[in-house]
């Protein structure tokens, strides 16, 4: 696991309660620095989750960019519903809001891709020959990617959010617009499907 695959939790929970409301107010005032601050705070984590879901770096960047622009558009409404100093301001989490948007956009992207293509898993990492020192790492990366990409969209999102991003089940369910019971059921099926795929590859000891 490289440096960019660190859990998202720390990045999403850095802000103190109420700071996100102030940030939203600055976004509503059309402050570019606020948007840059949001990208610096949440961009990497959003891109990481989105990349693991789509398997495409360019697609992941486009999705994160769209999520940030939607936050830019919706900032006046968000700031109006969470005025600074109010009790609602303490409950505002822009990271969770962005995570929900990115997850939905990634799922939409995967469904759209599945409709337009024959369903082949993008596996561009294996197309180009690598140096011998990178062959083994590339094979391991390809194996993990194939396991993740073999899952359906929502199961894939559940594994990415809970295992890679280490989100609690409640926050992951919120990011996927599901209730906690339904999400736990989905996560259970996703883990079972992941283990079955791994067993089928014959990598299990």
């Amino acid at each position: 696991m490289n440096a960019s695959s660190e859990p998202l939790t720390s990045a999403l929970r850095i802000a103190d309660p109420g700071d996100d409301a102030a940030l939203a107010a600055r976004l509503a005032a059309r402050d570019p620095a606020a948007l840059r601050e949001v990208i610096a705070c949440h961009g990497a984590a959003l891109h990481r989750a989105c990349y693991r879901m789509t398997g495409d770096g360019h697609e992941a960047e486009d999705i994160v960019q769209e999520a940030c622009l939607r936050l830019w558009d919706q900032a006046p409404k968000i700031a109006a519903r969470h005025p600074i100093g109010s009790q609602a301001a303490a409950t505002l989490r822009l990271g969770g809001w962005l995570q929900r948007v990115v997850t939905n956009l990634a799922i939409d992207c995967l469904r759209r891709t599945r409709r337009l293509s024959d369903g082949e898993v993008p596996d561009s990492a294996d197309d180009t020959p690598l140096a011998d020192t990178l062959i083994e790492a590339g094979e391991r990366d390809g194996t993990a990617r194939a396991l993740i990409m073999a899952l359906p969209e929502r199961q894939r999102a559940a594994i990415v959010l809970t295992y890679y991003e280490e989100l609690p089940n409640a926050e992951a369910a919120e990011a996927m617009d599901m209730n906690i019971k339904a999400f736990e059921s989905l996560l259970h099926r996703a883990r079972a499907a992941l283990r079955q795929a791994w067993t089928a590859q014959g990598d299990a000891p």
Binding site: S4, L69, R140, I148, A192, L194, R195, W198, T199, A204
Partner: protein
């Protein structure tokens, strides 16, 4: 580890073989200048669309409006049906306004004491107050008791009409004397006035006696029919009287005509009606003539009598 032996839905334990494989999924970092591209896109991004004018709350109002219109339409139809008596045709009771108001205020309706069902159950009798009824008349009159009750009600109405007629005659005489006095014309002395009123009373009594005789004959015939088991309806009791009552009106119409027109009208009448008119004319002619103002010399005497009294023949 044997996957098949474990719960396949259990969390992936860090450090396990599966976790080591999953941890090898490397992720590249964001490309350089990503934030600048997002900011540039935000600058040129068009403003979001405004909110839809139709909000969610209007959906509920549409439903409420539909319900309100339905209730109003049903109320209008029900009111129209009750007003036209359509509901009564289907034996659906419709309370009167008095009963509804009494149920609201808790006070008994003003006409609650009146035996309304008796009135409704006796449509074949004369329209006398049902509160005076001693015998309840149900359906056609087919018993002597019911016929007597019908006669009693008719007599009550006739007595009221005679009283009203006498009052009208007295009032007209007083008005005529007052008008002559106001115009400076000679007025009758008290003795002459008393004699005049006496003659009017006598003429009225004779006419009433004639009417009573005709009525007695008709009642005898009706009693005979009832005794024979024949049922009499309201039309059978009242309609012949109405035919006779038309004769004075026709006599008045004839009086307004010129002599030539009157003769032509009598000539064109059906024989039956012409006979009824002649009988009426003869009956009035047998009575004493009541002094009346200017009457054409060739007009029937019955017209003079009608003009003098200004009354109708009692039925």
């Amino acid at each position: 580890m044997s996957v098949s032996e474990q719960d396949q839905g259990a969390p992936v334990i860090p450090g396990s073989p599966l976790a080591r494989v999953l941890d090898d999924y490397a992720v590249p970092g964001l490309s350089a200048g990503f934030a600048d591209r997002v900011l540039a896109a935000a600058e040129v991004r068009p403003a979001p669309l405004p909110e839809l004018r139709q909000q969610r709350r209007w959906r509920g109002w549409r439903l409420g409006r539909g319900i309100a219109l339905g209730i109003a339409s049903f109320g209008a139809l029900a009111t129209a049906a009750a007003a036209t008596g359509l509901l009564q045709q289907f034996d659906i009771p419709v309370p009167s306004a008095e009963k509804v108001w009494a149920s609201i205020t808790g006070k008994p309706p003003a006409r609650a004491a009146a035996p309304a069902p008796v009135i409704a159950a006796a449509p074949d009798t004369a329209s006398e107050p049902a509160s005076l009824a001693q015998v309840e008349i149900v359906g056609p009159v087919d018993t002597p008791e019911e016929l007597s009750e019908a006669f009693r009600r008719i007599d009550e109405v006739r007595a009221g009409r005679y009283a009203t007629r006498r009052e009208n005659i007295t009032q007209r005489i007083d008005n005529a004397i007052a008008q002559r006095r106001a115009a400076g014309l000679p007025v009758p002395t008290p003795e002459e006035e008393a004699a005049f009123r006496q003659r009017v009373e006598e003429a009225q009594a004779r006419r009433q006696q004639l009417a009573d005789e005709r009525l007695a004959a008709r009642r005898a015939e009706m009693e005979r029919k009832v005794a024979n088991g024949e049922a009499l309806t309201r039309k059978g009791i009242v309609q012949p009287l109405r035919d006779d009552a038309r004769a004075p009106e026709r006599l008045r119409q004839l009086r307004r005509m010129s002599p030539e027109q009157r003769r032509e009208a009598l000539r064109q009448l059906p024989p039956e009606e012409r006979r009824v008119l002649m009988e009426e004319y003869r009956a009035r002619r047998q009575g004493p003539a009541v002094p009346t103002p200017a009457v054409p010399a060739d007009s029937p005497p019955a017209e003079q009598e009608g003009a003098g009294t200004g009354t109708r023949d009692p039925r």
